[in-house]
Amino acid sequence: MNTPMHPDIRVEDDPSPAVLMMANWLRLALSVPTSTRLATGIFAVTSPRGPSVTVNMRPHIISLESGMSDEARLFFRLDFNHLGDSSHKPVIDGDGKNTDTIRAYIKHPWLTARIRRLLVLPFPHWQEGAARFWTVAATLPDMPKSLLVTCNDEAQKMTLGEGEPEAKITGISLALARLFAGHTILSQESYIGRLHCQVSLQHLAGLSNAGLELRLGDHQGSQIENLLQSSTGI
């Protein structure tokens, strides 16, 4: 049976943005019903730009910290911008010289497979994500009263809030799912043209800031935990 998983996800004291982003992504991804079972073990993931996160998975508890811990046995490379994207599988980070590491992959094939799968668990569908996003974001400063979202590949529209839309966002479903998960930020997405928006400077700031709040939480992930509690009744 596919059921959501709600392990206790803990971050280090004074966490880095990469740790917070990974923690909040795990909270969201694991809230979606999945056939993936969590493994136990310690692994590290490095993004091409350099930030690394060590993930320690124990029964019912996942803890994250910056850097590559001495305790990690498995190492992966994955662009953190592609978390949740099954077309960008994490690569085993072995240079062929580190025999300890290679042995670890041979010794723990099941764990390796589970972790690779875990890292590409999808985000919630964009409409579900948008509803969750609005639950938290609507009360933040500089937000529009109403937002019209148009999904091009699904030919779907969704209005958040009430009244005539004060802001409009258009894009494909994956880009919208990432945006509403706080994984990407509207100002950057519109700058590079992945999302199109018609919005005032104030509302652009409000929507972008809301994305950052979701991505980074308040260092304990409470924002996103509140969000999950309000929308899933955990």
Binding site: P17, R49, S69, Q202, A205, L212
Partner: protein, 477 residues
């Protein structure tokens, strides 16, 4: 411009002053949130024509990070009209001749709205407003800065090319000598040019000396009113940078340019009663007035949050080390340089507080404003200070409040500080916090230097600055 002619500069009307000084060009100068000065060079006629409101410039001048990236992820009400202009309104009382070019004058400005309205985020405006609040309860303030910087034989161009690994400090030794005249002699040609140009600009300075780090110099200014004192620092930083550039050398105010000694920006301040007497001094109380104790209590209580302004950059935090000259606790003590606040109360003429937490890369206006805001909160709320730090030969006692040690922890402390929001304005504090989040994100989003596998070090907690910090702070601060 009749109203301008009424404004006397050195006893002269503006037109007369410009004429008498053969001014052809005026450079406006305003200080951004992160500290660098921005402005324009204006033909004299254009400068005069734009008075009294000043000239326009994009609002980005006040709403971008140190790399020039506009802050699109947060917003302040001064940006209401969209991607529009704001003004730099000259404070004509600051008009001064350039130290080198006789036909050039400088003028310090405030950021204002296009209709002349105040922008609460303007650092100079913030400092002026808190000074006015203190005046409204009956006190004047005098403040003085100790400006520290590192001086290198290496030029800026060579430093950039060498990834800042080739910096050669001026001086006879790379040891930790202080006040060494042999070291000072190496710096003398440079400092002679600096002090000459400060003199020509009418900037008073007291003394300079060789400081503890290799190539480090400290320049001291006499006490004056707070806004003027911060103006002096902003101008001096620009002047010192220009002279280094002209002399094919390099200079930096960044807090921790090496793993060794750091740059601070200690601030001394005192209060005067309306009759001019030293308000911090009371001979009947052994030298310390009741006002001084409330004032200390306010600064100590708000210090964890104020640290966000006093140590504003990623680099600032590398400076704070246990058991060193940089304070790590919210503490105070008489003539005690291990405390964050060194109190001098042995005579009315010397009575003052020296705040020792401020990093060399702090914005002088914001740093002084947040310190005064803390003091005022202590006075208004009649706060009582914690016990005085005893003279120490070891680590501070456990009872002392530890200061935050990272940009994020200081931001958290500031967010929770009701006194500072009350004194500085919630909008101002909220915007500042978002700029600090942006700075933190930029640092973590940098292209990391290759790290060995299983390295567990986090950038901000080690002492050695990263290339990203040099590229961002070395020349700009």
């Amino acid at each position: 411009m009749p109203q301008m002619d009424e404004h006397l500069i050195d006893g002269l009307g503006l037109a007369e002053w410009l004429e008498q000084h053969h001014v052809q060009l005026v450079r406006t100068h305003a200080t951004t949130l992160d500290g660098p000065a921005v402005g324009k060079y204006l033909r004299r006629a254009s400068f005069e024509k734009a008075l009294p409101d000043g000239h326009g410039l994009s609002y980005i001048a006040l709403a971008a990070d140190l790399s020039g990236m506009p802050h699109f992820n947060f917003w302040h009400k001064f940006q209401e009209p969209g991607l529009g202009d704001i003004l730099l309104r000259p404070d004509l009382s600051t008009l001064a001749q350039d130290g080198k070019e006789p036909s050039l004058s400088h003028c310090i400005c405030d950021f204002t709205l296009i209709d002349g309205g105040e922008i609460s985020l303007c650092p100079r405006t913030m400092l002026r407003k808190i000074t006015e609040k203190i005046a409204s309860v009956g006190y004047g303030i005098k403040a003085a800065f100790e400006l520290e910087f590192f001086l290198y034989k290496t030029s800026f161009a060579e430093a950039r090319k060498g990834g800042y690994k080739n910096l050669e400090p001026i001086g006879a030794t790379r040891l930790h000598n202080i006040y060494l005249l042999k070291n000072a002699y190496h710096a003398r040609p440079f400092m002679e040019e600096v002090t000459k140009q400060l003199d020509r600009q009418g900037i008073e300075w007291e003394s300079w000396n060789d400081e503890g780090g290799a190539g480090q110099v400290e320049l001291n200014f006499p006490p004056t009113d707070p806004v003027r004192a911060a103006d002096v620092v902003s101008r001096a930083r620009q002047t010192i940078y220009e002279i280094a550039l002209d002399m094919n050398m390099a200079v930096t105010f960044m807090a921790q340019p090496s793993s060794d000694i750091s740059n601070g920006l200690h601030i001394h301040h005192s209060l005067q009663a309306e009759n001019g007497e030293a308000a911090f001094y009371d001979s009947a109380q052994g030298g310390r007035s009741a006002l001084l104790l409330h004032w200390i209590a306010g600064i100590v209580a708000t210090m964890p949050g104020a640290a966000s302004y006093l140590c504003p950059s990623i680099n600032s935090w590398r400076r704070l080390k246990e058991f060193s000259a940089t304070p790590v606790t919210a503490s105070w003590g008489e003539e005690n340089k291990t405390a964050a606040l060194r109190i001098v109360s042995r005579s009315a003429s010397l009575a003052r507080i020296e705040h020792r937490l401020i990093a060399g890369d702090a914005n002088p206006y914001l740093a002084l404003a947040v310190i005064l805001a803390g003091g005022l909160a202590g006075l208004i709320h009649k706060l009582e200070p914690p016990d005085e730090l005893p003279p120490m030969g070891g680590e501070p006692p456990d009872r002392e409040t530890r200061l935050p040690r990272t940009i994020t922890k200081a931001a958290k402390a500031l967010r929770e500080d009701q006194y500072l929001s009350e004194m500085l304005g919630e909008d101002v504090v909220d915007y500042w916090l978002k700029t600090r989040r942006a700075e933190w994100l930029s640092f973590h989003n940098r292209r990391h230097e290759p790290a060995p596998r299983r390295s567990h070090k986090k950038g901000p907690q080690s002492v050695q600055p990263t290339l990203w910090e040099f590229e961002r702070y070395f020349e700009l601060i």
